[in-house]
């Protein structure tokens, strides 16, 4: 277990440095798939902790809060796998190769490494910016992983990573909708709250519409 955590930590650390060795280290172990899965789930859970304002706004109870974090970790891992599959498919079509799908999935999973620090999104005011930095960082990790997979050929790796991401976006807006529906239903069932509402939606009922104040000002009310 200690060795497993150590390998996880080394993988995260090296992946965040965009070091190709990170992917060799992770790939060198027989339980590599579990290491990557653990990193992805941890990243997803940490990111939701950083974005937990939505759970609080929807008044999720403490026990379900923990369940939500784990669920988000699993969903996050799955979404990375979908991205990995899309990248693999793109590479097969544009640059015919013999790279196994499982290897592409494992390396894409390491893209979750920066999100292990997703809890930092919690920081007041600076958190949003940190979230954006982590998103770019994650993309760069996946790009570095794909470059390693393409034997150092940056161009094809960039094309496959970007096109793969676009494929996922198009799919989620079209044929992926039923999957998203099932995901949301599962989410509602486990967390006991409808997560569609934002802070502004829920608290807007207490706030004044700006035109009220503007009208008052025009009337010259003291």
């Amino acid at each position: 277990m200690v060795e497993f955590i150590r390998i996880m930590w080394v993988g995260i650390n090296e992946a965040m440095r965009l070091n190709p060795r990170a992917f060799e280290i992770v790939e060198s172990r027989p339980d590599t798939a579990w290491v990557v899965l653990a990193v992805a789930i941890l990243g997803g859970a940490s990111l939701l902790l950083g974005q937990s304002v939505i759970l609080f706004v929807n008044r999720v109870r403490p026990a379900r809060f923990v369940v939500s974090l784990l669920l988000n970790g699993v969903i996050f891992a799955l979404s990375l796998m979908v991205w990995g599959a899309a990248i693999w498919l793109t590479s097969r079509v544009l640059y015919p190769n013999e790279i196994p799908l499982t290897k592409a999935l494992r390396l894409t999973g390491m893209g979750a490494a920066p999100y292990v620090f997703g809890f930092l999104v919690l920081l007041p005011y600076a958190g949003n910016f940190i979230g954006k930095v982590l998103a770019v960082w994650s993309f760069l990790v996946v790009l570095a992983a794909m470059t390693t997979l393409a034997n150092g050929n940056f161009g094809p790796a960039l094309v496959c990573t970007v096109v793969g991401w676009l494929v996922v976006m198009v799919m989620s807006a079209t044929i992926g909708r039923p999957v998203i529906y099932v995901r949301n239903a599962l989410w509602r069932r486990l967390t006991g709250a409808d997560m569609d509402a934002s802070v502004q939606d829920i608290l807007g009922q207490f706030a004044a519409p700006p035109e009220d104040a503007a009208t008052k000002s025009r009337r010259g009310a003291p």
């Binding site: 609080f56 706004v57 007041p124 005011y125 958190g127 949003n128 004044a208 503007a214 000002s217 003291p222």
Partner: protein, 361 residues
């Protein structure tokens, strides 16, 4: 060896500060989610006090609520100079209901020494501060409250935090006889971080009180807050020797000129924000806005000058009768002078004592 110990201590301190910042939003978020037992009491646009429950209405024609700076431990435990300033403000602002006891750094108005995990620690800091007003450990209180200001300014957490503070302001107003729905204008006077929280709370106060809301920032560090959209006017009092109040301008992107459509810049363009130069006043130390021993070229102590500027602004907006204001000042001037002289004598004694101690050493 010493260097490595120092670097270890520094790393630990930085990690503690980051941990404090990470935990800062949880108080208001947990309050909203009902994690801490009681369900939040919220302001309502339609609620009016039931017959027989409402206290007798205060005859004042407007109200001023003071929200203290980040040095506050609870509503009553604020730096002594601010307490004295508030007491004098009550006397120099006739016909105004002054509410000085809202603790703006908690959504439940619960001070740091109330029933909290670190209450004993904060009580210890409070005792130290009473013995030495310049005790360095009060920096912990400042930092804790500074994070709450950041929570108020954050568009994710701000709505919850500011709603909680607005509910507490309404409760404090009602306790002093302000009738919700009376339409009497309310002015929020906030010092330092209190100004940001004033702006944030304004979003919810305007519809709940059905009254015009003004904000007077005293050296305030404010963000580009949506509360500006419902605020009738924002007066920003700034000292030329106060670099802290400029932080709001530097740190919050919505205040930069490159974003003309931000709430702040639209309010500026509409003439809603007025900057008032307070002369050589500072943010901290004896020359701050509440100082009794530093004087303006006109011979007023900084504390009195700040109160009088607020009085002038309220009179300009028709919230104070100018004749009554002049009368109140004339009646209060001897007391103010005596108070200033007493503080000056006290400061001189403290300086002598310090000099004596140095000589002995």
């Amino acid at each position: 060896m010493i260097l490595s110990t120092l670097s270890l201590l520094l790393t630990g301190l930085i990690l503690l500060i980051i941990l404090g910042a990470l935990l800062a939003p949880f108080e208001s978020l947990g309050w909203w989610a009902g994690w801490f037992g009681e369900k939040p009491a919220l302001p309502s646009r339609t609620a009016t006090p039931e017959a027989g429950q409402a206290p007798e209405e205060h005859p004042a024609t407007s109200a001023v609520v003071y929200l203290s700076g980040i040095g506050a431990i609870d509503a009553a435990s604020i730096p002594q100079e601010e307490i004295d300033w508030g007491l004098m403000a009550i006397k120099r602002l006739p016909g105004v209901l002054v509410v000085p006891d809202v603790y703006p750094y908690s959504v439940t108005n619960a001070g740091l020494t109330a029933d909290r995990s670190f209450a004993r620690f904060y009580r210890w800091i409070e005792r130290r501060r009473l013995e030495n007003p310049y005790d360095l450990l009060q920096f912990v209180v400042n930092l804790r409250n500074l994070f709450q200001v950041a929570v108020s300014a954050d568009r994710r957490y701000g709505p919850i935090y500011n709603l909680g503070v607005a509910a507490e302001i309404i409760r404090a107003l009602e306790q002093r006889g302000y009738r919700v729905g009376s339409g009497k204008p309310v002015t929020l006077a906030g010092f330092s971080g209190g100004a940001q929280i004033s702006l944030g709370a304004a979003t919810y106060l305007a519809p709940a009180l059905k009254a015009p809301i003004r904000v007077i920032s005293i050296g305030g560090v404010m963000a580009d807050d949506p509360g500006l959209n419902v605020t009738t006017k924002l007066y920003h009092l700034y000292g030329e020797a106060d670099p802290v109040q400029k932080l709001g301008h530097w740190l919050y992107a919505g205040r930069w000129k490159w974003f003309p459509q931000s709430d702040w810049n639209r309010a500026m363009a509409a003439g809603k924000i007025e900057m008032i130069d307070m002369g050589a006043m500072a943010h901290n130390g004896s020359k701050n806005y509440f100082g009794w021993t530093a004087f303006t070229p006109e011979g007023k102590s900084h504390a009195i000058a700040t109160i009088d500027t607020i009085g002038d602004l309220l009179a300009k907006d028709g919230l104070i009768n100018p004749a009554a204001l002049q009368a109140a000042r004339a009646a209060n001037d001897p007391e103010a002078r005596a108070y200033e002289a007493a503080r000056a004598a006290e400061a001189a004694r403290a300086r002598d004592k310090q000099r004596e101690a140095k000589t002995t050493w």
